[in-house]
């Protein structure tokens, strides 16, 4: 889950920082270097252990590779050209984003109503249900994905259930298919959507719904005209989180998708640890990183600008 939790917090962090962390009041300073001294250990650590490795990865992506000579220390953009030209890579990236998009849609479709239902629950139930919804975030993503592998494959419980209900006539193939990956990823990521919508619901004045009722609006109109517009920012920022995490997810597609159904992250993994073509793997990683940063920062800007007028 660590992978998952991380981007979620980032999105919140970028969204929240400039406005909510107002600069502390000025006061006479004895020694201007104190803050730098305090952050020095962290800065040193991050410079050596984050910036240097990332720059090195970028440089690695410019190297070339041959099966006999290994990594060759030349600078060129051949790897990028290869990926852009090769339809195999297109297919992998396209699949990655298709899966991420569908997972995002499903999370919004199920997570947002669930958050709303949770908020309307009464005290002891609400805490318990919230625990059940958020708890999976703390359970290892490997264990959770294993659960889906068991449900889909070995026990075939999902197919038995669906056929028992008469919904399908013949078993559906879930293992090693996009459908399976999408279902498992939705399960892994939907708590983030609930959390995000939950946070925006916290800011919704409960009296606002009563106000709309008193003005003659029916329950559905209240939902559509009053509640939904106010939680759209929550759904959007939840979508950014879920999309970014789904696009770079590794463990779930690796277990459910297997070696045949590749996504960007499993492709990079294979290039590194099986084919040993490090420069190509690094290129995939760099592209993934760029896509991720563009999506998170770009969408956050967009959401912030769009809703600045209304929500602060």
């Amino acid at each position: 889950m660590s992978m998952a939790a991380s981007t979620e917090s980032q999105v919140q962090a970028t969204a929240a920082n400039p406005s909510t962390h107002a600069p502390p009041p000025r006061r006479p300073r004895r020694w201007p270097w104190t803050p730098y001294l305090l952050s020095a250990p962290g800065l040193a650590l991050f410079a050596v252990l984050l910036l240097v490795p990332l720059v090195m990865t970028f440089l690695l992506s410019l190297n070339s590779f041959s099966f006999y000579g290994g990594i060759e220390n030349v600078w060129q953009i051949g790897n990028y050209a290869d990926i852009i030209a090769d339809s195999y890579f297109h297919e992998v990236f396209l699949r990655t984003f298709r899966i991420a998009a569908v997972v995002t849609l499903l999370c919004a479709l199920f997570g947002a109503p669930e958050a709303y239902i949770l908020r309307r629950m009464k005290s002891p139930w609400r805490g318990l249900c919230l625990l059940i919804v958020l708890g999976p975030l703390l359970i290892s993503v490997v264990s959770r994905t294993l659960g889906w592998a068991l449900l889909f494959g070995s026990t075939g419980l999902v197919n038995q259930g669906l056929m028992g209900l008469g919904l399908i006539a013949t078993p559906i193939e879930f293992m090693y298919t996009e459908t399976g990956v999408i279902i498992a990823l939705t399960h892994v990521l939907v708590p983030f959507m609930v959390l995000s919508v939950w946070a925006s619901l916290q800011r919704l004045d409960p009296q606002v719904e009563n106000a709309a009722l008193s003005l003659g609006a029916g329950p559905l109109t209240v939902m559509r005209r009053v509640v939904l517009p106010q939680i759209v920012p929550g759904i959007l920022s939840g979508s950014i989180i879920v999309f970014a995490l789904a696009a770079s997810a590794f463990a779930t597609p690796a277990i459910i998708g297997g070696r045949r159904l590749k996504v960007a992250a499993t492709l990079a993994y294979d290039e590194f640890l099986n084919t040993l073509n490090w420069p190509l793997g690094a290129t995939v990683a760099v592209l993934l990183l760029i896509a991720n940063v563009v999506i998170i920062v770009g969408c956050n800007r967009l959401v912030e600008r769009r809703y600045k007028q209304v929500f602060e």
């Binding site: 009296q207 606002v208 009563n210 106000a211 008193s214 003005l215 609006a217 109109t221």
Partner: protein, 350 residues
Amino acid sequence: MAYLVLDQLTKRFGNWTAVDNVSLTVEKGELISLLGPSGCGKTTTLQMIAGFLDADGGRVMLDGQDLLAKKPNERGLGIVFQSYALFPHMTAAENVAFGLEMRRIARADRDRMVADALKLVGLEQYGDRHPRRMSGGQQQRVALARALVIKPSLLLLDEPLSNLDAKMREEMQIELRRIQRTVGTTMILVTHDQSEAMALSDRVVVMNKGRIQQVATPQEAYDHPANAFVANFLGRTNLLPGMVGGGAGGTVITVADSVWPVAQPMAAGPGALAVRPEKIGFVDAGGLSGTVLARVFQGTQWLFEIETAAGRLMVIRQHDGSPLPAERERVMVGWRADDMAVMPADREAA
């Protein structure tokens, strides 16, 4: 004929009775306040009238119709919420227009009515602003316009002024009074602020622990509180323990070394006498004797604390140049019999 009738309205939360057999009639066009400390049941009563809470017993009749049988969105009441509950994603004009949209009023009529409503509350310039960009007072006015524009049969105001600062609150009190005179809507105001209730209402309903303590005009309730709770809650008062008994010229109450006539018939026994600080004066004879403990200058008036055999008294005298006693001076205080209220001794007093 009574316009709004609450008949033995009751609400329980578990073992606790929040509203206990509340009955009340309100005339058309009247502004009536439900006044009391927090937890007295006034907001719960309002929520039942509005339909956000189900009553456990009793009836609410509005203009001859059973209100409790209708859903909240079919009651046609205007409500101004304590938090204003404006729709943050809509502009002021859109907020005001919402109720009209729900009533499927044609665009042109709607725009005109919204403009009129905004003008009524003095916000004609602010129609396209979002609530978050408005001050508390402006938001308050939008909430008022939104509730009034649907021409409600009854306007409910839930602590409408509690989120405003003191100056703003005074302005809005005058504004509310003006609007009420203009549109003539029947209003029920819920408040814990006695000065607000007295400034605005035709009648006040003082509530405590889920029960009505007194229903009267503000002046009547202030001058002749029905019991110790009302006396204490409506402004500062001196509550002195005494003994009621028969005297030569009728019933009297004896407080320490002083004796006061009691106008209403009362049984003999322990009683209490309530008298406002500003109604007490310094007299030469026939009053209650005591010693000045402290005196404080407050600009337009002096505040005295007097120690007497019946307890400590608070006395307010105008700062008009007349001679006033000094600290530690022996004095005698008195008041007109009309200015006091006598009530049976109440264990719940204060």
